[in-house]
């Protein structure tokens, strides 16, 4: 037992392959950044539609959010990578395929846009009606009020919740190796095939994920503390 423990804590092998693992981490970060941008953009549209004055938009956007919030990322990733290209190929009557990277970004982006749209909706609804009326009374258009008054405030109010969504999204990037994106897990699996020492390799991968997330969370906490001190978060 103690030998197993010693092996799992001996990270020298992990250190030996550090450049390969870091290349994997870079892939996780790329997938994360691209899918976070996609999720945020979609969530903004879906979140705004959920508070729209048009009933049809509200129904459609609620359906979208519910569908993607309740589908596991794993299933969505497999569906986007294997099923979606078949459907599109049939529709276009031409061969169509998605690269692993694109499939991962699309699946994670869409999945997290469902969660984030709920955060956006709550953020927008938390802005007092009076702030909008002040803008209207000064002759501002609804679009200007949205752009200058509502969204900047909503983003600050959404930050803590959005941060935890982004942490989950970063963790979720660990499944992209399933469609052969060469991320940390993929690289570690490849090294393991060669070395047959899963304990230190997977322990190292877990610690690396942890380290990146803690560093990112702490930096964002410092940033939002600064905002809070200025009185507008």
């Amino acid at each position: 037992m103690s030998e197993t423990l010693r092996q799992s804590l001996d990270l020298s092998l992990f250190w030996e392959y550090r450049y390969t693992v870091l290349a994997g981490l870079a892939q996780n970060i790329y997938v994360f950044l691209a899918s976070a941008a996609l999720a945020l953009t979609l969530a903004l549209f879906v979140g705004l539609s959920r508070v729209s004055r048009h009933r049809a938009l509200r129904i459609l956007s609620t359906g979208y959010a519910e569908l993607f919030r309740n589908t596991p990322e794993f299933v969505l990733l497999i569906w986007v990578y294997y099923v979606l290209p078949i459907l599109i190929s049939k529709l276009l009557a031409a061969k169509f395929s998605l690269s692993p990277f694109l499939a991962a970004v699309l699946a994670l982006g869409v999945a997290y846009s469902g969660f984030l749209s709920e955060t956006v909706r709550a953020g927008i609804q938390s802005i007092p009606r009076g702030h909008v009326e002040a803008g209207l009374s000064l002759g501002m258009s609804r679009f200007t009020i949205l752009r200058r008054i509502v969204i900047p405030q909503a983003i600050r109010r959404m930050l803590p919740e959005a941060l935890s969504q982004f942490v989950s999204l970063f963790k979720a990037t660990s499944i992209v190796s399933l469609v052969a994106v060469p991320d940390i897990m993929y690289q570690v699996s490849m090294i393991n095939v060669d070395q047959m020492r899963p304990l230190p390799l997977y322990t190292g991968a877990a610690l690396l994920f942890c380290l990146v997330i803690i560093a990112a969370t702490q930096s964002i906490n410092i940033l939002s503390d600064r905002w809070r001190k200025r009185g507008w978060a």
Binding site: A134, G135, L136, L138, G139, Q153
Partner: protein, 266 residues
Amino acid sequence: MIAPTLSPASTGGPILRCSNVRKSFGANEVLRGISFEIPAGSVLTIIGASGSGKSTLLRCLNHLEQPTSGEVYLDGEPMGVRIKPNGTRVPDKAANIARKRAQIGMVFQQFNLWPHMTALQNVTEALIQVKGLDRAKAADLGRNTLAKVNLLEKADDYPARLSGGQQQRVAIARALAMAPKVMLFDEATSSLDPELTGEVLEVMRQLAQEGMTMVVVTHEMGFAREVSDRVIFLHEGQIDQDGTPEEVFVKPTSERCRRFLSSALS
């Protein structure tokens, strides 16, 4: 010196005219046919018990609430409706309503300052976004207007760092910077502690003295009596008493108005 921009005297007519305005929320009729005119440079005060329709009336004047029937005219032009050549009335475009709203300043009970902007940014935002001023010009005008409400030293502070009275003065400066033809005050001092109401009333008094056309909803009876040219007492959505401060406060003919005043002043 606060220099308001008054309506062009060329029109000669009232700046604001309210014609048989009615407003219902579902089955509840809050305003039941209100008509009055406000000449340039005059101060109209609306008093009445809570729920009498004072705030709704004020909000109908700048179309934050759309009247169920009746019309509001700003400088002779109808608010919220467009009259076609054949005489039919159709709802006006949002851009036209916004253009007219920009000529009516409004000060709210809850200040409604934008917390993510400094005092100066609160004042300059509409100058930049609505009037199209460049940032430097807007900042100059913003600082001048803040100086007029004695808050130049707070220009770079966020609303959270200001007292209630200071926040309300920034809100007045924000409306005033747009050089409105008329200013609406919706219980501007009601959410302030008694020691802070004075500084806001002082700014309003100064504006009135300098000829700003004002419609004031207030519970400050002393202020209403001192500053108003005309006072309207609303009861259940109708004008119950209407006259000079002397007529309304000293010898009201309406029994309801008399009772309201005696309870408000006691």
